[in-house]
Symmetry: C2
Subunit: 325 residues, 2 copies
């Protein structure tokens, strides 16, 4: 159970009112421009009222250099969404929570598990909503996959998350720096789906991580997990994939096969395509953030990041050829 | 808070009865022979009734080849203590808990954090005691250090854990294998003291891990943590220490300096030696295990292992010269 109550439901709700809640977006990089800004623009619950960026904000939107400037200038803004990489994000998240703001965190929610637990404690103490998002959980096939597996006897799960890093993460230096997760930056999306759809927790039993000799984070990883009654999960993350790209999860159960493709957006059960549902990934996240604020709840599930930390802890390191961007 | 109630206090207690509770010891290696067997021999609460070992048991004590043999032959034994390395320990711990045994785990409590959380869930479901031990927390200066720091304003903590791996871990191949933790095997003792004596949680902000080019685990590590109000912790773990060996923690506070040496066994405050207290490390652990069983409680604190996982996750990897045992 990752949802916790922070106060009486209904107080200060924003989800169902006619006026949109002003929200500030902090960290205006690729993910903010590609996903957050369009999702907020399409949202009935939120209106983009300010940004914090040192490298340029958004046309027509008030911009501040740092969180301190935002907090001073706009006490009326009660909700903030943090899109910068995890390493610089922690201090900003602490400052926002300390100022009594509702906070939404891009994935991964922290550079370490311990710091996410600190944010959770502070949010609880301040009585505000903390939402550690996992956007892939809102992909169009995930909720139905979870429902299908709820009572299934699962035999084996195969996760293949294979993409070309040059195509999907051009110039994102931070992903190669210590704490930037490397191939686990996309791979954690697969783990966030895995932990959402499997009815019982699994634990890592082995891992191999391939580090380019000139980089601090892995370019590929093989993981093995074990669950109840002999259930096994095998996961392959690879950033060296040329040609067809793939983000697929196949679950074999005693009653049939479930297959999530396109990062969770497409669901087949025994080869039959299922209807898509939900609002889509980032619109789904903002809808959920509004719901959590409305209900006086937080939603912080560290399990995907915990599995990544466990993989670094338990995994064997292989050094592979240098990677040049 | 790491202590949780598993059932009504007093049921099935062993701590204060006249007869000793039979206990089985599983994994008869160096730590079992050096510490566990003498501590059980000196304990009023427990009597060593059986062992599980494939490499030779203890003279005069019934030995079984595996946990299944023990469980079948000795249903009367309600408490087991697991001393094997973390990687092979999980399945054995699950089997013992599933059979309704009270379980005590050597440190670290698992090869991953997620598996410890699984053990905790199973212990709760079965209504038995799970005790994830941290022996250094029972060193003679730790309880007083915790009391001194409870209301202190801490400025800086310096941890130096420097020992010669050849002297202290001869032939322990598993510590060099993935999941064996390397220098974090002793270093986690320092982190277990740190998390015990500091009144507020800290989180890792940076780490450098030195991996010998022929090994899967680090031989040295530098860690930096941050706490409230600008408090900082610097930790240096090094297995390459020749000459004087040292396991020291120095805490500078606004009212004075606290210094734990000898792995926590000796405490100085402002240069004044303090009286030692407690039963000693392993006698203290068995006393506590009996208390937990008596009270119907579990004690599982993963925070030291969480910090190690965070260090592997966030840390920069340096490759250093090969290490030959």
């Amino acid at each position: 159970m990752t949802v916790t109550n922070i106060r009486g439901a209904g107080a200060g709700g924003v989800g169902r009112q006619l006026m949109s809640e002003p929200i500030a977006l902090l960290g205006i990089g690729k993910i903010a421009r590609d996903q957050h800004i369009p999702a907020i623009a399409a949202s009935n619950a939120f209106a983009l009222a300010a940004t914090v960026s040192r490298s340029g904000g958004v046309d027509g939107v008030e911009n501040h250099d740092d969180i301190a400037g935002l907090l001073t200038a706009r006490p009326d803004i009660r909700a903030v969404s943090l899109c910068m990489p995890p390493v610089p994000r922690f201090d900003i998240a602490m400052a926002a929570l300390a100022a009594g703001k509702h906070v939404m965190l891009e994935k991964p929610p922290g550079a370490t598990v311990s710091e996410v637990l600190k944010l959770e404690r502070l949010a609880r103490a301040k009585g505000v909503t903390l939402f550690a998002t996992w956007h892939s959980r809102h992909a169009a096939g995930v909720a139905q996959a979870r429902a299908y597996l709820r009572d299934a006897q699962i035999k084996h799960v195969q996760i293949d998350w294979k993409e070309d890093v040059r195509r999907w993460h051009p110039g994102q230096d931070w992903i190669w720096q210590a704490g930037g997760l490397g191939v686990f930056d996309p791979g954690i999306n697969a783990l966030s789906i895995m932990t959402e759809i499997l009815p019982n927790p699994v634990h890592l039993t082995g891992a191999t991580l391939a580090f380019p000799e000139n980089r601090d984070t892995p370019i590929a990883a093989d993981l093995a997990f074990a669950g109840p009654a002999g259930m096994r999960v095998a996961a392959v993350f690879d950033w060296r994939q040329e040609g067809p790209q793939g983000w697929n999860i196949t679950v074999d159960t005693t009653q049939g096969q479930l297959r999530l493709t396109d990062g969770g957006a497409t669901l087949h059960i025994d080869g039959m395509a299922q209807k898509k549902d939900g609002l889509g990934e980032y619109p789904g996240l903002y809808h959920r953030f509004a719901e959590l604020i409305e209900a006086g709840q937080s939603d912080v599930d560290v399990s995907p990041l915990q599995h990544v930390a466990d993989a670094f802890l338990l995994g064997r390191r292989d050094v592979v050829e240098a990677f040049e961007d």
